[in-house]
């Protein structure tokens, strides 16, 4: 029952995040989405995923709040009717997730450790992601260097 309620709340907060006009409210709704997702993972036994989701969500939201505050213009008051209709749409959208189900899949890879999976099966992905992150970091360093040079 708790999982169903959490999933309904998740869909409602996702709807609010998309449809609310004010940037800060939208970010608050997104924070709700992240928190509920993390709770959902934790309650279904995936503590590893829950911790990761919570950490990534917290980092993203801290920056989003700043940029949302920076980018938002005059606050818009949301009519009560619109808010209620958004919640109703969210509840309706979450109904299939609560009542429908898809049959479980067969076990394919069992007994593989995390290290084996990361380095033996997905080694190229890991290396490429490291390369992408390094390129981004280098790009930032070069841009800051050029800016400094230009400033002088």
């Amino acid at each position: 029952m708790i999982l169903e309620l959490l999933s309904a709340g998740l869909v409602i907060s996702a709807c609010l995040a998309i449809f609310l006009d004010e940037a800060v409210y939208s970010v608050v709704a997104l924070a709700g989405t992240f928190f509920l997702t993390s709770m959902l993972y934790a309650l279904s036994g995936s503590i590893f995923a829950a911790v990761f989701q919570f950490a990534v969500g917290a980092g993203t939201l801290a920056i989003l709040f700043l940029s949302g505050e920076m980018l938002s213009e005059t606050p818009v008051k949301v009519p009560q009717k619109t808010l209620l209709s958004l919640v109703a749409v969210g509840v309706l959208l979450s109904l299939p997730a609560v009542f429908l189900s898809i049959s479980d899949q067969a076990t394919i890879f069992s007994g593989i450790t995390f290290e084996e999976a990361l380095w033996d099966l997905r080694a190229i992905d890991v290396v490429l992601q490291g390369f992408v992150i390094m390129t981004v970091a280098l790009g930032i360093v070069i841009i800051l260097h050029e800016k400094r040079k230009g400033g002088k």
Binding site: V11, F34, G59, T60, L71, P96, T107, I112, A117
Partner: protein, 104 residues
């Protein structure tokens, strides 16, 4: 309750936002929702893939998601600083006006 359907619903909301919203911050929120839907699929697949492989997929998904968020946020701030707006329609209008001025 089924996570596949829940992630599909989240994906649909994200894609709807991506296609209809003109504000860059909303586009970012939509991308985050799509990423959450994808991650939820990985979490759901953990029992059938084996714990290690599922967690590896999850780590990769989170890393990609964080990189994408960083790049989109950087673009958002740069665009807002340069043009004073984060609305895609206004940005397109600005560019068209600039082109017209150059042609004239």
């Amino acid at each position: 309750m089924d996570y596949v359907i829940l992630s599909l619903v989240l994906l649909a909301i994200g894609i709807y936002g991506l296609l209809t919203k003109r504000d860059l911050l909303k586009v970012f929120v939509s991308v985050e929702l799509i990423a959450t839907a994808a991650t939820m699929n990985f979490v759901m697949l953990v029992p059938s893939l084996g714990k290690g492989l599922g967690e590896a997929f999850l780590v990769l998904a989170f890393a990609t998601d964080t990189c994408v968020s960083g790049v989109i946020l950087a673009l958002l701030v740069i665009v807002h600083k340069k043009y004073g707006t984060s609305d895609i329609s206004d940005l397109v209008k600005n560019e068209e006006n600039k082109k017209d001025e150059v042609e004239a």
